[in-house]
Subunit: 370 residues, 2 copies
């Protein structure tokens, strides 16, 4: 292989695939970045068998071929290379790859390219097409609610559904649940329902940061999903299992509905939670009465906190306790000025949603206190 390419493009491609490079693995080949040069294109790939990322860029291909380089060193090297142009050339004599740019020359030992589990881009129609900003918003507003407990794998992923009603992403750790819906511009041939690991969705949201609007094509391949956009595709395993019926979790009616300013409420909850940090449940109490939300915490070793925030309260007065982090997590993701906090009893799930977005729902289970 012998190629010449723009440093900026190479750096972009290396950064794009880099998150799929395995850090610790019994298979050394997975610590590498695979480069395949053909027809004036270079495709870079990395995979740790959980996630695989491919990125293709333009290059002058003087000699086609495939190589695998240490992901860790290649990435740092490309980032620091001088000038605008990088040359990469494999040696016929030994297993080294010569990388040159300006007055810099690196001879990196290569990994055996024939051992790399090359990702294949599937052919055929895509299942659905989503705007990048819609996909990013779905992910950002739900995936934080996932569990990190690997003992119950389905809760470590987000449920992606798409049908004639649009697209939905749902995440829950069983104590709280976030649901975000969006409409689709094109029809879905057959309904989609799959659980995608949180890690991969977060990575997708990170990479989807283009200035120009762009469509993300989603393909479903047995136990894998692929997201394709621009010159990148990301392949992920799916999580097997039955996701609970989230519609059953959403209460149909409420005894108390509170409207409150999102920013003021978040600031007050964050301050009160300073004194609730210790301990497993991180509990803070809310009292809704007299058009005022009173938020309190009590930590015998440190002290007490007490805040009031004005709110429009309709319905019954209620006192209820929540895990402080479960409340702040959702408040940070609400973009509208005001939110609705809807409640029934001190022991039944409550609902938080933005005033101006019917398509965003967050359910939170209270903590039982004495």
């Amino acid at each position: 292989m012998k190629i010449t390419c723009a440093k900026d493009k190479l750096n972009y491609a290396v950064q794009a695939v880099q998150k799929a490079v395995a850090a610790k693995t019994p298979l050394p080949i997975l610590t590498g970045i695979y480069l395949a040069a053909h027809n004036n294109k270079v495709e870079l790939q990395a995979t740790d068998y959980e996630i695989g990322i491919s990125c293709t860029i333009d290059a002058a291909v003087h000699e086609p071929g495939e190589i695998v380089l240490s992901g860790k060193y290649f990435q740092e090297m490309v980032r620091r290379m001088p000038g605008d142009i990088v040359n990469i050339e494999s040696s016929k004599e030994d297993r080294t790859i010569k990388i040159t740019a300006g007055m810099s020359q690196f001879n990196l030992l290569s990994l055996p390219a024939e051992e790399f589990p090359v990702l294949r881009r599937p052919v055929g129609d895509n299942l659905l097409s989503v705007k990048d900003e819609v996909m990013r918003d779905l992910i950002r507003k739900t995936i934080f609610a996932c569990s990190t407990d690997e003992a119950r794998p389905i809760f470590t992923g987000g449920l992606l559904e798409a049908d004639e009603n649009g697209i939905r992403l749902v995440a829950t750790n069983t104590h709280r649940l976030a649901l975000k819906k969006a409409s689709l511009e094109s029809n879905v041939d057959s309904p989609v329902k799959m659980i995608i690991p949180a890690k991969i969705l977060n990575e997708l949201a990170r990479v989807l940061n283009y200035e120009e609007p762009m469509n993300v094509s989603v393909y479903w391949l047995k136990n894998q999903v692929m997201f394709a956009f621009d010159d990148i595709y990301i392949i992920s395993r799916l999580i097997e299992g039955q996701f609970p019926d989230y519609n059953k979790v959403i209460p149909a009616s409420f005894n108390t509905v509170v409207k409150v300013n999102t920013r003021d409420f978040l600031a007050a909850v964050e301050r009160v939670s300073l004194l609730a940090r210790e301990g497993e449940y991180n509990v803070i109490k809310f009292n809704f009465a007299n058009q005022t939300i009173t938020i309190t915490s009590n930590n015998p070793d440190i002290g007490k906190a007490f805040e009031t925030v004005p709110g429009e309260i309709s319905g019954n007065d209620i006192e209820i306790a929540f895990n402080a982090r479960y409340v702040t997590d959702i408040l940070k993701n609400i973009d509208s000025d005001d939110l609705y906090f809807s409640l029934n009893t001190p022991l039944s799930p409550a609902l938080i949603k933005p005033v101006d977005d019917e398509n965003y729902t967050y359910i939170i289970t209270p903590v039982r206190t004495n």
Copy 2:
């Protein structure tokens, strides 16, 4: 105690003393911040017995008194308080302190103020007076060369000297030495010579970030030093012991003197050092010949790096090896466009200094290679 003060000022004072709050200590009182309110001033103090910091701000003192609050919680609380004004009031009934701002109220348990080892600001003439930017520059350009090995305490501090020739700060870990000199505007009554812990000097440089120029007064109190400026003073223990005679370490003459562009040289050294990272000595090789500096590294597990940088070389050709980090550390601290790299033999110490600053000297010991 009962006071009212501006939140911004209180936050400034808490942040200033915060680095002296002990994190882990068998003495709980040292985890606190001490507040003393008298004569419409509040003085905040914290100390871990290594370093003590005091900061005094204006306040409306309704009732004078002293209290001690948990440093960790008080700091976070003040930072997040709403509005512009904070009230602090101790309760006569119990050991709590009421802190209010806007609609926020915190009742923090207090620590026993009578147990706090209150810092006393010494009276008398100051030993010397240094401009803040001079002090910061002395610290920034030398203290990185200190050792972190507590087994040899004198090398974990910087030697501060002041006499009729001006002020000097020196730091060494025995493999490299950094010396920075500056002139003083006022005379020094008696020569100053003391070893100050690197941690405290770094903290001093961090706090000395005023927009207005300012003088730092330095006082010497038996085994302590105090730096006073604006409304802050920092007291530190001194390190006891005999600092080596650094003048003996600086070679009187050189066989080879090289002039090179600082930025280009740093970029090349950093790239070559990518492949030298593993292992204890982090070795990279330099060859000075034909008006060219050739920098190489060789890591059998990863590969080789090879860079050339043009330089003006006078004297003998020489090949020599250094710990890469010892070279990059100094290059990052040289502000001038070009530097001099002066050498004798592959086994004798070399000197690096900026072209435009006679008062900055860095000595580096080579690594023996085969």
